[in-house]
Subunit: 597 residues, 2 copies
């Protein structure tokens, strides 16, 4: 069975030394996040997920979820008690506002914990994960009464949430939704239709399930401009707030999937189900986007979470498994063979894992902090810039972190050779679980188009200019300061130049022909990923140098500087190739007639 230890030291290094979270102690929520509280959440949270949640991961995969003839769904046997402990420990409430029962801590801290939870059991983490998104949507778009009624039990974890977008005939193209919502005399609605791929759609962990459902009211425009958002509780809520009559929403079947077997992926049938409109009629997509943007960062964390636990198990195997000799002569002559970690190609795979995991951890926590700042920073300009950067980097994180999480899981599996392919060691599960993160919440191709087609252009490219300015400034400062970080800065500067050139090329060509944007979107997202994660490695190098210079030099900081160099030497050269691919343009991609495929 795989093992897991939360990377608490690394999280703390990022929060304390890279993000310097202490600088924000005067902001609402941050005053509670004292160093002691942060330490307690990370240490205690890491221990909790390792001891309580991680042991449910492999059995949960093998057992899966079961739908019964009455439409009820049971999760794996170990989940119920684990979920109870999760709720009782208050782990669902970290960053929820105090007035709805939360602890009011910064989101950045909740995200740090969420990574650990994903590492321990991604399928399990999806139950509270989707609830968090649903809370955000109701809070942003719902009425005071709706918030008061639904949010507190969801914060507490007694109730969970779902998001219902996809239907058999449409996923990405939500304008094609067919689920109907007919107004009833009491101001509520009656929903009828079928939703598919609904994660956590039906299960036995919570007293009630709050479905957020996209549907069309009679006469609504037949496009994304005619979509409204509804709350459809599994059990209607009585006057005292307790679950009452069963609503007309049922699980018709559950999917047989490649992975995340512990999460119930349901076909949900709405049959005259009572629903309550959230926000304005025909403006439902805006509320759902609040949920989706939070969810997209959360999916990025899934990529990271799986990458981290897969790396840990591959590293442990590589230090233990003996096979062959070091190329430079026996490393342990007394033993029959050397541990395979002596082999450069095994180390290449492990170093890629480290470089992506630690870099993506820093990136996601930075963007999570920017999310806090976009709401709480005292200065309007600072809030605006933070919001710009969150918007720009969210699709990059969703796509790049899940692509690299899947890559790292595969590299880790490869380290184990044949043992990686069999169930016993758990690596093949990580690969199967990680794969979905590239697909759901908008495929990674959709993320790339969101980045290139929407985020680059909005407000005259303000967000990108802000990002490019930050990178250029920090590259300049690090080069001037010297040391090993200067070498990282040198290479990051080159990658930045490739990104700038690719941006100019897109600006010059995509206006004329939007297919140029479509054809270049994916490599553009990837070069943004390299520069973003590269910026994190620069910041971590600078921080490691600073702490070491202050007398704190140790193996952890040495490893940071070495891994930064590895990222610079091994990943940054791809920026130039990606720019060349973008500049290859759309012609060869669009030339074949459809029937030639």
């Amino acid at each position: 069975m795989p093992s897991y230890a939360a990377p608490v030291r690394d999280t703390k290094f990022i929060l304390d030394q890279v993000l310097e979270i202490g600088r924000y102690a005067n902001l609402p929520g941050f005053e509670a996040a004292t160093p002691d509280t942060i330490d307690a959440v990370l240490e205690e949270g890491g221990r909790f997920v390792s001891e309580v949640i991680a042991p449910t991961n492999q059995p949960g995969d093998q057992e899966g979820c079961t739908r019964h003839p009455d439409g009820s769904v049971t999760t794996p046997a170990s989940y119920k008690d684990a979920y109870r402990q999760f709720v009782e420990g208050g782990w669902a409430t970290l960053a929820q506002p105090v007035d709805v029962g939360g602890q009011g801590l910064p989101h950045v801290l909740a995200m740090a914990f969420q990574e650990y939870l994903n590492s321990a059991n991604m399928a399990f983490a999806m139950y509270p994960g989707l609830t968090t998104g649903a809370i955000a949507a109701i809070t942003a778009a719902g009425s005071d009464e709706q918030v008061a009624r639904y949010v507190p039990p969801m914060v507490e974890g007694r109730w969970t949430g779902t998001m219902n977008l996809t239907e058999p005939q449409c996923g990405t193209d939500l304008g094609m939704i067919r689920t109907r919502a007919e107004p009833a005399a009491d101001g509520s609605y009656r929903l009828t239709g079928t939703k598919i791929f609904i994660s956590s759609g039906e299960h036995d962990l919570a007293e009630n399930i709050v479905h957020l459902v996209l549907a069309k009211t009679p006469g609504a425009p037949d496009s994304v401009k005619g979509i409204s958002l509804f709350i459809v509780p599994k059990f209607l809520v009585d006057g005292d707030g307790s679950p009452g009559a069963r609503n007309g929403v049922t699980c018709g079947s559950i999917e047989h999937k490649m992975g995340i077997h512990g999460n119930s992926t349901c076909v949900m049938n709405y049959d005259d189900a009572v629903g309550y409109m959230v926000g304005e009629e025909n403006k439902g997509l805006a509320g759902m986007f609040v949920m989706m943007n939070a969810a997209r960062l959360g999916v990025g964390l899934q990529g990271l979470g799986i990458g981290e636990v897969a790396y840990q198990n591959a590293a442990a195997y590589a230090k233990d498994r003996r096979q062959g000799r070091a190329l430079t002569g026996p490393a342990e002559p007394a033993a029959r063979a050397d541990p395979i970690i002596v082999h450069p190609d095994v180390r290449r795979m492990l170093m890629e894992g480290r470089a992506y995991n630690e870099g993506l951890r820093a990136l996601i926590l930075w963007v999570a902090l920017l999310g806090d700042l976009s709401a709480k920073a005292p200065d309007e300009a600072e809030r605006l810039e933070a919001d710009d950067l969150v918007g720009l980097l969210t699709p990059v994180i969703k796509a790049y972190a899940t692509d690299k999480g899947f890559l790292v899981a595969n590299l880790a599996q490869q380290v184990l050779g044949g043992h990686g392919y069999v169930r016993e060691w758990g690596l093949e599960q990580f690969v199967r679980d990680a794969r979905i993160a590239q697909i759901y919440e908008g495929t990674n191709g959709v993320q790339a188009m969101d980045l290139v087609g929407r985020k680059l252009a909005s407000h005259g490219g303000r967000a990108l200019q802000s990002f490019l300015g930050i990178v250029a400034r920090e590259v300049g400062e690090a080069r001037a300061a010297g040391g090993e970080a200067a070498e990282v800065a040198e290479r990051l500067g080159k990658a930045l130049a490739e990104l700038q050139a690719a941006t100019l090329w897109l600006m010059a060509n995509a206006m004329r022909d939007p297919n140029q944007a479509g054809a270049g979107a994916y490599p553009y997202m990837e070069v943004m990923g390299i520069v973003s994660v590269g910026l994190m490695w620069l910041r971590m190098s600078v921080a490691a140098q600073r702490v070491a210079a202050e007398g704190g030099e140790d193996a952890f900081l040495r490893a940071k500087l070495i891994t930064a160099r590895f990222f610079a030497e091994r990943m940054m050269p791809d920026a130039a190739a990606l720019r060349a691919k973008i500049e290859g343009g759309a012609e060869a991609i669009m030339a074949l007639p459809a029937e030639a495929f």
Copy 2:
């Protein structure tokens, strides 16, 4: 359920127009391979695998293999009849010599059919596939009596074969093998030990199973120099050649794997089992390497086979599924939405699939033809060069074709979005099945080390010089001849320059520090893959131009030229990045102490 149609037109184009197989009609075996015979094998073989084998693939994955308490193993219900038809149709015997019951056709033709079989059902194809390897090993290293006794029923398909290398404590490092072979009075041996990960180790498809087993005789050197090769039949063979008494080899358990569920992966227990030495004592690895080299090309074909069938299903989905509108405006205004093949990013994924599949098909068939020529060419120098190229390109094909086969399967899965992640459509099975090909028969990292550590250096780099010379010559010719192929040649010339520079760097640095070779091996294998497949795209462009100029212009040839351009624009730029990674060297990779991982 996924569908499959053998790409017969493409295979014929490669055989006839690119490899110009007609030139070899005077060679033994090739005289039988008339255009009519080739057509019949490809058309009939394609039809057979589509109609008979492909329908067993998805049910076989879901049912898997079952080991019974008596140690017997049953394959999925549909396999037995499919295997019977496979044998009766003579599909196992295509390239086997006539004197052992084969049809004596060139291996290149058998390999073309083997691709189709892998597309239809990779797990099924492994039963005859390993048999072919075992036949090759016995033929190369066994006595006349052993060949006469074991080979004909294996050729016929009544018996199957296995290769037994791996043990719990060793896979890559075969010097650590513990299975013992004690000599008996009658000249045979008694084998005792445990082998793991034995594909097709026990099953119900054949009357007998011929295990080829690596073991150590008493007093043998405790290294790879002390390994002998043995035939251990499941049933001892009576004087009349029929299976007799049950031998002391049994299946202890079968593995639960990520994929290839239809193939029984067994733990094989040898308990005083009767074995017959093949070839000389302590020289067993040489015989097994005959099997492994054949098997490595066969594994490359698995990557291609899965890539092809995955692509076909993704392309069909992309032409059928409607979602959103073309970026340039509605392509089919009367319909509710356009088919997703209008989207550049969907086409990018499909074009990558085409570019790798067709390029790898040409590469593998070229190397298969070189294998035929290495044995049959009239000229000694031609035989030697062919053999050199087979040795050089076998690890490239094993590693690059399986990496890209896995990539293409994942891209195809991505095209289907959420529908790619659920069992129903079959894409997730392709991903799970394809994954093993990167691992077994020597992990892809081991292939890269074989290329860099052994193949580059042997005979003073003769094979590489020969390969580089071929590429340079054909680039020069195509540039001089002009047309669209000249543009492909232009870019291939640049990739070739990167390969040459990377080679020089390795030569200059790896002698001093072998870790430089280890650290650069994987990207070096990849740049070899780009140049090799790039050479195929150049050849296909040149051939397509020639046929078109002769009046045969059609959509197929147009698609070749467009896909060649796509490969040149989208894949070849990676060569420069890979060179930069190689030149990054080993320092950052080797710097961390083991305990830091």
